[in-house]
Amino acid sequence: MSRRVIYKFRLYVAGDALNSAQALANLGLLCREYLPDRHEIEVIDVFKEPKRALADAIFMTPALVKLVPSPVRIIVGTLSQTQPLLQALGLAAPSS
């Protein structure tokens, strides 16, 4: 995989609810560590833009959508478990 691929994320949050805030904080940490200068994060508040959630078929928040690189993946939760998250995002080899 090319090292120059830019990861594009879309994080659906419920205002500044606790889990959402935690998810945003965890995502930020992860990107700074594993994808420095290779990421774009778009944060969407479902209270403000419920239609976009519907368009992406998001029914729960917080929910992270990895748009690029494909395949598109959706992860729900506070994103606090780093290792499974890295696997889900394709940034780490599956544990043996």
Partner: protein, 800 residues
Amino acid sequence: MKPRKFPDSAEAREEISALIEMLHSTEQRLEELTAGEVDTVADRTGRTVLLRRAQEHLRYSEAAKQEAILNALPASIALLDAPGRIISVNESWRRFADANLLQSPLYGVGLNYLDMCDRASGDDAPEAGQAAAGIRSVLAGENIQFSLEYSCHSPGEQRWFLMTVTPLAANHPNGAVVMHVNITERKETENRIAYLNRVYVMLSSVNTLIVHAHDRDGLFREVCRIAVEAGGFRMSLIAIVDRSTAKIVPVASAGKDEKLMTAIKDVLSSSERASTTLLARAIRDKQVVVSNDSKNDPRVLFVKEYGESGVRSMAIFPLTVAEQAIGAFALYAGEIDFFHEEEMKLLTELTGDISFALDHISKQERLNYLAYYDDLTGLANRTLFLDRMTQYMRSADSNGHKLALFLIDLERFRNINDSLGQPAGDDLLRQVAEWLKSAVGDAGLLAHLDADHFAVVLPEIRQEGNVARLLEKKMQAFQVHPFHLHGSVLRISFKAGVAIYPDDGADADTLFKKAEAALKTAKERGSHYLFYTQKMTEALAGKLTLENQLHQALDGQEFVLHYQPKVNLAGGNVTSAEALIRWNDPRSGLVHPGRFIPVLEETGLIHEVGRWALHKAIEDYLRWRAAGLVAVRIAVNVSPLQLRHPDFIAEIKRAISIDEHAASGLELEITESLIMEDVKYSIASLQVIRDMGIRIAIDDFGTGFSSLSYLAKLPVDTLKIDRSFIIDMTTGPEGLALVSTIINLAHSLKLKVVAEGVETEEQWRLLRLLNCDEIQGFLFSKPLPVELFESSLLRLPAVL
């Protein structure tokens, strides 16, 4: 969209509760599934279904945030409900409560804040009352904000707070937020700025003053005034150390009431307590003394009085000139803790400026002194003396008298200076200055010009003779005065040059030069003194010699009486005689009275000589009587000085008391002008004399200005027509008519008439025609010595 209709039945209600139940369990299931990590769940249409937990969490987090914010604030905040009860407080309030007012475990929560304010007592009560009123007004919705600045001073420190009260909800009053902010720092900064400003204003005013100050007292007074008016001090005081008594004396003050000033003066004048004052301390230690809380300062003496005058702090600055503390400047502030580092720095600078000005003034005075005074003797120098001379000259001009300037040169001074040394010479000069001061009686009339030269001015002289006499007298006194030098006695003399204003010069400079010239000549000629005008020196010298000789004449009985007879015109016989004084000078023979009578009058010798003449005449008369001669009455002349002497009548009484017949042999001749000078006094005293049996004649009649009305009242017996009328009598009809009139007038007043100075037959003939009673003159006889008078005239048979 049509609103859905719910069936109003028990079945429907059941369905609803079943749905709620399901929703609840679904929610729980969802929680379990998402491990609590999910905030929202949406249905298929995208509608958000809020999870309760998330909602609550949101609420909690909001409250926590607000609390955190409140706790983070440095202000002490409490929420009050509508009746004023404290329902919530922040962290700062709790800390404040810990340290301060509310010792309850809940930091006052639950207590009624208004009650607490209402119950406040002591110094804080008025402010607590204002606070309560303000809170009530906000709780009642009358005000949307209330604020109050208040002080809360603890023993250790002064603190200031700002309380603000705002409603909990803007629309309907249901409580209030009370916030206290500690503004001590701001307040202190404000005060410091205000204090500093006051001190700055004062500093600049005083500095302006210093530039213009010329005298100490004015400077002190103004500095004190500025301290109070510009500096905003309650009081100010300047005290100076009196060098002679070593006591501290207040010399200027402002803002102090009389009672306090009196108390301070009392303490300073008492010897024991004076040293305990802060003023004394500042002066003694040459150190600033500060008392920033006078009320609680054991060093302050008048704690009560200062308290009553509103003094809360004070500072005393020593005034130092040439490293000597000459006094102190005290400032009293109405504020506790006024004197901080910055203020002290400025005020110390200010005191330094005042000290500088004092130094400057005293140097100026010293310069002035040196410019006008001689440092050695303390007498005026030439410059000041000339200035004074000019003033005396002006006064002499306007009063029409003369002025004399003496320049004095000490003899042998150079020798004394060389042999005993300059310090001894200086000492002698100081002693001479002292002697002159006491001799002249006024240091303002003296100057020390240089080395051994002094100057004296006599600002008012009437007769030059007096000047010479005075000078001789003083010179003699000076010569015998013992001056003490090195434990031994020294006598010295001086020479003097005299110049008279306006005769010798019209201005001080010229007069000075003339006096210097006279002094120089005196030294050359070896004279004791010389007047600038030679003639005057000579004339005065002659006069003084004469004076001395006259003294001797009196002692040596050199005076004699000559008698000139008065002759009856009808019978040709001698009726009486006029006694005329003569001086039989052993050196030059008989001296004419015109030469010495004025000197007798000037010197006052006339009294003694007059007394002598009176006694001598009585003695002669009584002798004639005893010897069986024709004892004629003797007329003695009375000089104005004698008549005016208060003892004159007693003198005559004494003279005639030696014999019962003495009075009948005596007549007094008094000039017309003298009688008329004070006619009422004359009438009275002449009456007394006449009552003793002594006759009185008016001498030189016609030369004065007799008032006819007084002439009739005068108690006199005889009228003597002045010789000038007798001379004029033969030169024209007017002269004759005049004498005729005088004789008729005298006769109508029942007075005897004597014509004086009758020298010719013609005069004698005319006087006889005019019915004159008696004549006196060379025609019959000149004045004769007593022996000759006796032998040639008194042995003739006389008819009285």
